[in-house]
């Protein structure tokens, strides 16, 4: 898109560092293509050490969305021409209404669930397959797995999670799904190709013969800040960095996320108070200033939250 759509923040915006620091550039909502739902709040059965919103069984900062609330947003979304719906948490399957929510969603458009696949008993997998078969739209399951072995994955995601997640993936594959396995890059980048190969092998061993794999950068906020590092002072997005940059790569130009506490700019920033843009889609359609350090990761990698895209590998 043309950079002339990117107006600078209004005069008087608070300098982020030092006197006269440049205001963060604002990104307009070009089209509401992707509507996200924080469907399980910040409640998760796991406590991953790299979680950028610090989800856990006892993190009730954000609570579940019910079928009624999601349905109202689905209805409202039609006038906005929303193209795809995404469901995240926490762990979405902690929300017992999720299958019904997905069925309602897939009646009007494609749905993607970001899950750890540890809460997918046979009965749930079968139900998902029925919902998928009954819709002309795609139901994508995006499954988090942060290493090709228990030795690499479990220190991040918790003891026994590698085995449990592989069982969940296997069950999905047996029911005809082609889950997108997403791995956060918790290894050093030089090992990308090796880890990718090992992931392919691990997935093929359980019968997933054409695995779809997406490698994501980590976001240095939430629990990840303590696990690895926070952002440096230089890691921030400036107006100059958006010259000749395709801002449609940034999720905030095409998405919003519904939570039980209102509509936020993107799934990464719900812990940040200024990322709450309004009580409904209309209020939340205003531009967003790229104030946060995590915006830098999005700027570097682009489209990290979409189903396609991620860190490119030469292999």
């Amino acid at each position: 898109m043309a950079t002339d759509n990117l107006s600078p923040a209004p005069a008087g915006a608070t300098p982020k560092s030092g006197p006269g620091a440049e205001a963060a550039p604002q990104i307009p909502l070009l089209a509401l293509d992707h509507l996200w739902f924080q469907v399980a709040g910040t409640v998760c059965n796991l406590r991953c050490t790299h979680c950028f919103i610090s989800c856990a069984p006892d993190n009730h900062s954000f609570w579940f969305l019910d079928l009624q609330t999601v349905s109202e947003y689905l209805d409202a979304s039609k006038a906005w021409g929303v193209k795809e719906y995404y469901f995240t948490g926490g762990e979405p399957f902690m929300n017992k209404e999720l299958p019904a929510i997905l069925e309602r969603t897939l009646a009007i458009g494609p749905a993607t669930v970001l899950t750890n696949a540890t809460l997918l008993p046979e009965k749930t997998a079968r139900r998902l397959a029925e919902i998928d078969a009954g819709s002309p739209f795609s139901l994508e399951l995006r499954v988090s797995l942060d290493g090709p072995s228990a030795e690499t994955n479990d220190p991040i995601r918790g003891a026994g999670t590698f085995e449990r997640t592989l069982q969940g993936i296997q069950r999905l594959v047996e029911h005809g799904f082609l889950p997108i396995v997403t791995a956060a890059q918790v290894w050093c980048p030089q090992e990308d190709a090796k880890v990718y190969r090992q992931l392919v092998e691990a997935l093929q061993q359980i019968g997933y013969d054409r695995p779809r794999i997406k490698i994501l950068p980590t976001l240095h906020i939430g629990r990840e800040e303590a696990r690895s590092r926070g952002y440096s002072a230089e890691e921030r997005v400036t107006s100059a960095m958006l010259e000749n940059y395709d801002a449609s790569q940034l999720l905030c130009s095409s998405a919003r996320i519904v939570t039980d506490r209102g509509v936020y700019v993107c799934p990464i920033l719900i812990d940040q108070a200024d990322a709450r843009l309004g009580a409904n889609l209309k209020e939340a359609a205003r531009p967003y200033a790229l104030e946060h350090r995590a915006c830098y990761t999005c700027w570097v990698n682009g489209a990290i939250c979409a189903n396609v895209g991620g860190i490119g590998l030469e292999r």
Binding site: G81, V82, G109, P110, S138, G176, A303, V308, E314, R315
Partner: protein
């Protein structure tokens, strides 16, 4: 070459020629046999296949109205890549081989010709306003798949671009969706490679004005795919591409497919 506002009652449309001059000849012949008043090509003339310069004279001789796809835009301007929108490394590896071959083998004259093609065309199909584009009316390389394009999204595209009928291509898979008030969205498919269905034939689209609306018909066309495969082999193009021509299954650039479309394929 503006055809703004010209009115037709029956047209043929296709996209993604991908240098497949054998299929191009077969499709034009078939469309003429079926009394198409005009034939439209929605872009991506090069890529994948052999001898890119062979398709242009066929288009000109047969008065095919073409628009510019992302591939054509890249070739015309000599960009670094095809702007196909792939993100997977293996997909990009094959896209690069294809792009470098096509750029090297497209003559300056035809590159200039590509650069002058319009990005969109507006015509009338009966009393319906039809908008012809490559990826979508808003973005040349937007993928519009059947399983990820909700009806309300397509309705908004029609509203925003004041069209009753939208025709696009770019994905290589043909499909259509009926919209409100007799409006229609059609992905016309590609004739350069098969539709990932295990058949070697390729698909194009016939559209007819009918009773205040428009009807759509997808037509499979067999062609001399063995001759194409042999030319690809002689030109040193990847075996993976040749396998697709000979089997009807996509072997590369699969990672952009949504799950429903991916499951229908073999790889």
């Amino acid at each position: 070459m503006s055809v703004e506002g010209e009115t037709y009652s029956r047209i043929a449309a296709f996209g993604g020629v991908y240098s497949n001059h054998h299929a191009l000849r077969a499709v034009i012949k078939d469309a003429q046999k079926r009394d198409a008043e005009a034939v439209f090509c929605l872009g991506d003339l090069g890529a994948f296949g052999p001898h890119p310069d062979r398709v242009f004279p066929i288009l000109v001789e047969n008065d095919i109205r073409a628009i510019r796809g992302n591939y054509d835009d890249s070739i015309a301007r000599g960009l670094d890549d095809c702007q196909c929108g792939y993100t997977d490394p293996r997909d990009n590896h094959f896209a690069r081989i294809s792009y470098e071959y096509t750029l090297r083998n497209t003559s300056r004259m035809w590159r200039d010709w590509l650069g002058e093609l319009p990005e969109t065309l507006h015509i009338r199909l009966g009393d319906k306003l039809a908008l012809l584009c490559h990826g979508s009316p808003r973005r040349m390389n937007e993928f519009l798949w059947e399983s990820t394009s909700p009806k309300h999204f397509l309705e908004k595209l029609c509203d925003d671009h004041r069209a009753d009928v939208i025709l696009c291509t770019h994905t290589g898979l043909h499909w259509s969706r009926e919209l409100s008030e007799g409006r229609l969205f059609v992905n016309v498919g590609a004739i350069g490679r098969p539709a990932n269905d295990g058949n070697t034939q390729v698909w194009y689209t016939m559209l007819s004005a009918r009773g205040g609306g428009a009807s759509v018909e997808f037509i499979a066309v067999p062609y001399d795919h063995e001759a194409l495969a042999e030319e690809m082999s002689e030109e040193g193009l990847p075996e993976e591409f040749i396998e697709t021509i000979r089997t009807g299954w996509w072997t590369t650039c699969n990672e952009v497919l949504p799950s429903k479309e991916r499951k229908r394929g073999k790889f």
